[in-house]
Amino acid sequence: MNRRSFIAFVWLLFVGTASAIDPEPPLEDPVIESAYRELINEVRCLVCQNQTIADSNAPLAADLRREIRRMMGEGASRAEVIDFLITRYGDFVLYRPPFQPTTWLLWGAPVLLLGIGAIVFARILRVRTKQPLEESNSLDEMTL
């Protein structure tokens, strides 16, 4: 592969991620357009649940994109659109669910598990450091 085709190849690798299914022309205001792009990448398509509506070509995803475009084009804020979606489809429609009693465990679990891991790690370290030095030396030699 020569240099030029290599560059073309690398470039093509990134092209795929930049394209979207949305066939609509961009909104006039680039700020709104980028807010729109950001938002549709955080909204779950309920038909194909592991895709965002930006990725999905399901008819419902197209309808939701159209509706969100219309709202944002008319000046609706991000919070207003999110509220619109939640009152209709529930929190599940958001890939970033709000922090509330039903999601405390969801949001807290990583910190909680990390904490448990840290405690276990600290305990193991303490037990190991209490062991006689010669024994750990001989262990080192064995592993070597």
């Binding site: 038909v47 649940q49 939640i86 209709r88 529930g90």
Partner: protein, 184 residues
């Protein structure tokens, strides 16, 4: 003792979470509309675009709103049962024809039977978004005052009707047939 107890209890907690998770149906997303007023809408009727069907037709009755389409396999499955329900004439069934083609939908109704008092024709799926529809068939049960009482997502069967719909209808109406207030 702790040496064994801790891993076993951690395992038990994880197993309980996974068992719960695996037994949930990820396709079922509870509707936030339950207990809230039905979303307002006004749409042309499927059979007669000149006539409007909307929220005001639904209120006053305990009614069903069934989201259907001719491209929807589950709708074909439940259609026979809907026709049966309509024949029993216990409560009015309205249809929301979702992202469909008018002639196809009309010929489907004329060949399979029309259980609906009227079907609203939602070609662009805009009303469906307001109702939080994501997968037809969906069936909403509405109270007299227009509150959404229940939503069923999947083909409607006699079993679902008996276990989920009937108790709620009886609670609302007292007995079947469920007539509008004032007509008794």
């Amino acid at each position: 003792m702790w040496r064994y107890l801790i891993p076993i209890s951690v395992f038990a907690v994880l197993a309980a979470f996974f068992a719960r998770g695996l037994n949930l149906n990820p396709r079922y997303v509870p509707s936030p509309l339950i207990g809230k007023p039905a979303p307002e809408f006004e749409l042309p009727q499927l059979k007669n675009p000149e006539i409007v069907v909307g929220t005001q037709d639904l209120t006053g009755n305990v009614a069903l709103l069934n989201v259907w389409a001719t491209w929807c396999v589950g709708c074909r499955q439940e259609h026979g049962f809907l026709v049966e329900l309509a024949e029993a004439n216990d409560l009015p069934i309205y249809g929301l024809n979702w992202k469909d083609n008018r002639p196809t939908a009309m010929s489907w109704l004329s060949s399979l039977g029309d259980p609906y008092v009227a079907s609203a024709f939602d070609e662009l799926g805009e009303v469906a978004i307001d109702w939080g529809v994501y997968g037809a068939p969906e069936t909403f049960l509405l109270a007299r005052d227009g509150t959404v009482l229940y939503k069923h997502i999947a083909p409607l069967t006699r079993e679902v009707w008996t276990t989920e719909f009937l108790p709620r209808i009886i609670a609302e109406c007292g007995a079947l047939p469920c007539l509008p207030v004032g007509s008794e």
